[in-house]
């Protein structure tokens, strides 16, 4: 695990103070940070174990779907080409990795919302365009779809 910026700030300020009283406080902060990290690791391990138990109880259809969920990804070459065609300059590999990742999360949010819409309307998959459009409408009203073309009105 990494030391996040807040912990880094605490460590830095703890180390620049000189008097013995503040050295004791600094030690206390360091111990607290260590305990927090251990707790986080324990939670992660629990999480991993729970996932294993869940996945081991999947039906074949669920396993198929889970495999597709984990494995599907946007092709890096296409994403890189797309981003570079927009910027006109080249982009680093990390940018492509990050962009592919958040695009997949975005796609997931849309599909999940569309499935909610579909269920709410008493219909069944496969998802139809009307579900997708209603999902987009709802996500837009929650501000989850970036749109820089909308003319912002400050006072309604």
């Amino acid at each position: 695990g990494e030391v996040n910026s807040q912990e880094g700030l605490e460590l830095a300020s703890a180390e620049t103070e000189d008097s013995t009283l503040q050295t004791a406080a600094a030690k206390k902060i360091k111990i607290e940070i260590k305990e927090k990290k251990e707790k986080k690791q324990k939670v992660d391990e629990d999480e991993i174990q729970k996932m294993q138990i869940l996945v081991s109880s999947f039906s074949e259809e669920q396993l198929n779907r889970y495999e597709m969920y984990r494995r599907s990804a946007f092709p890096k070459a296409a994403i890189k080409r797309l981003v570079q065609s927009i910027t006109g300059t080249s982009v680093s590999q990390n940018v492509v990795i990050a962009m592919s990742g958040i695009s997949k999360v975005f796609a997931g949010e849309v599909v999940e919302e569309a499935l909610d819409v579909c269920e709410k309307w008493g219909e069944l998959p496969p998802l139809q365009p009307k579900h997708m459009r209603e999902a987009v409408r709802r996500l837009k009203s929650r501000g989850q779809i970036p749109n820089s073309k909308y003319k912002k009105i400050t006072f309604h």
Partner: protein, 169 residues
Amino acid sequence: AGRVWPEPGGACDAAGRSWAWCRTTRWRRPQPRRDRGRKCGAAASMADEEEDPPFEEDTEEAGGGPDGGQGKRKRLFSKELRCMMYGFGDDQNPYTESVDILEDLVIEFITEMTHKAMSIGRQGRVQVEDIVFLIRKDPRKFARVKDLLTMNEELKRARKAFDEANYGS
């Protein structure tokens, strides 16, 4: 020569390698594409993805509305998006129109993010820090980017250590 057609409906070959898109055909990719400029004249796109949908799409957006109107562009992510939609909970065979709508949404999302990233930090360039900044309010995406970049660093370190270990022997 060396071109292998996928089985119908398949998104990956038996070894789990994904298909790379050429303009009109699908090629298995054992090596980087060198033939991007070459026209694949003969074969049309695989018929297995052009199923006739059993229903009519709404025609309200005749000219092309905000969500589904960019029909002229070649489909970039059709195969991958199909797998993704199934993974996220849709039917094993999603409707092509829905896949198209989702593709347009994703491309619009990437375009917006790219433009925003270009306008902050170092202007005119897209850097990871800008993306992370833009995402900071969205917990899911933020956590995902953090995980991906951390894992990438670990993989790079592991690969480097592996290569150094082999270099000695």
